[in-house]
């Protein structure tokens, strides 16, 4: 039986910062915020709340949805580029906070918005190679500490969140072949030079990258998985902004009902944006085939087709 996604837990901090207070400062109107950026308010972690806390709260949500018995967890992977502290790895701190077994592999993956899809491939391959049974793939990349509130390019986009995906057999969704790519020559277009620095982003360059590479990648992905565009029920794109999700939908000529946009009240949560939506869709049995695509810092992208095991 193939490993796959068994369930997903999510944590969005209750704190919110409104973008409506920035209208005059950035000389924009409310329509620009709601129709272009697509983020009215951003989730913000509470003072004193740590990355470990975010992960633990995501796991608490997973437990409410019927998560794994803690004693059975044998693998923890955290996708983050803002771990809170560099040493030790965040997955070890989460391991301690959840009181997980000693016989449990833990490692972090340093990726941004493509990280969830990369992480799915990495944890499943690692678990399969080492005969592990119950893995937890966390995403936790709070950007609020690295945002310059005066920067129009970045300060209205990002929200803090965490997710945890339970990887096991008897899964709800299993993965087909993945596609990956990197445009390292363009890495300076989205960067945070030092731990104490602020994020900088060339929005036009990142937009051009996504519009140019993602549609072509989706077409290649579907071809190698022998799945037609029409057979896909949900295209869950990384929620960079409404503007980029709308553009990808137009370029691929997709039905708007198949392309969720969800971040109006919490923002772009980096590697958590895809699992937050997937957690909502997981219980919708009418959705049989999914395409996930993450893209961002690197510049990097990754895509995968997920299907219900009974459909194989």
């Amino acid at each position: 039986m193939q490993l796959g996604i068994k369930n997903i837990g999510v944590y969005l901090p209750e704190g919110r910062a409104s973008n409506l207070g920035k209208l005059a400062e950035f000389e924009i109107d409310e329509t620009f915020i709601t129709e272009k950026i697509g983020v009215r308010s951003r989730s913000i972690m509470a003072p004193g709340e740590s990355t470990t806390d975010l992960c633990v709260r995501a796991f608490a949500d997973l437990e409410l949805r019927g998560g794994p018995v803690r004693e059975s967890v044998d693998c923890v992977v955290v996708v983050t580029q803002n771990p809170g502290a560099n040493i030790p790895h965040l997955s070890a701190r989460v391991h301690a906070a959840l009181n997980l077994p000693e016989r449990c592999a833990c490692f972090d993956i340093s990726l941004g918005c493509s990280g969830y899809v990369y992480g799915l491939s990495a944890i499943q391959a690692f678990m399969d190679a080492n005969k592990l049974s119950n893995g937890l793939l966390f995403t936790c990349d709070p950007y609020s500490p690295i945002i310059d509130e005066a920067d129009k390019n970045t300060s209205m986009l990002f929200g803090d969140a965490a997710s945890v995906t339970w990887i096991s057999k008897a899964a709800e969704l299993t993965a087909g072949r993945f596609t990956f790519g990197t445009l390292g020559s363009e890495h300076a277009e989205l960067t945070c030079a030092s731990p104490a620095g602020s994020l900088t982003m060339n929005g036009r360059a990142v937009f051009n990258f996504a519009a140019r590479y993602v549609p072509a990648d989706i077409k290649q992905l579907l071809e190698i998985n022998a799945v037609s565009l029409a057979a896909v029920d949900r295209f869950i794109f990384h929620q960079g902004s409404k503007y980029i999700v709308d553009t990808l939908r137009k370029l691929l000529r997709l039905d708007a009902a198949k392309v969720p946009f969800d971040i109006m009240e919490y923002g772009n949560t980096v590697s958590s944006s895809i699992p937050i939506i997937l957690a909502k869709d997981l219980g919708e049995s009418a959705y049989r085939t999914f395409v996930l695509c993450g893209f961002g810092a690197g510049l990097s992208w990754a895509s995968v087709v997920l299907t219900r095991p009974s459909d194989i």
């Binding site: 924009i28 929005g203 036009r204 937009f207 051009n208 519009a211 140019r212 503007y243 553009t247 137009k250």
Partner: protein, 85 residues
Amino acid sequence: MNVTIDQLREIMIQAEITMKNPAELDSEVPLRQQGLDSLDMATFVFFLEEALGITIPHTEYKRLGTLKSLADALNEHGEEWAKKK
């Protein structure tokens, strides 16, 4: 390169920039003054580059203010920009 203002309007339609009907845009008034915001401009430039097979250098964006100045820039430098792709 021989690009007309009507071709640019057609590309704008393909890009689904709907703030204003492209046929009604004054070719000599800056697009930003006619309702296109920064994101509309980014979309327009992307579709333009894809349609014409060019890459417009960032340093030339200031010349893209009006449809007329854009057509002039493309006709003057289009082939040079095509080579850079």
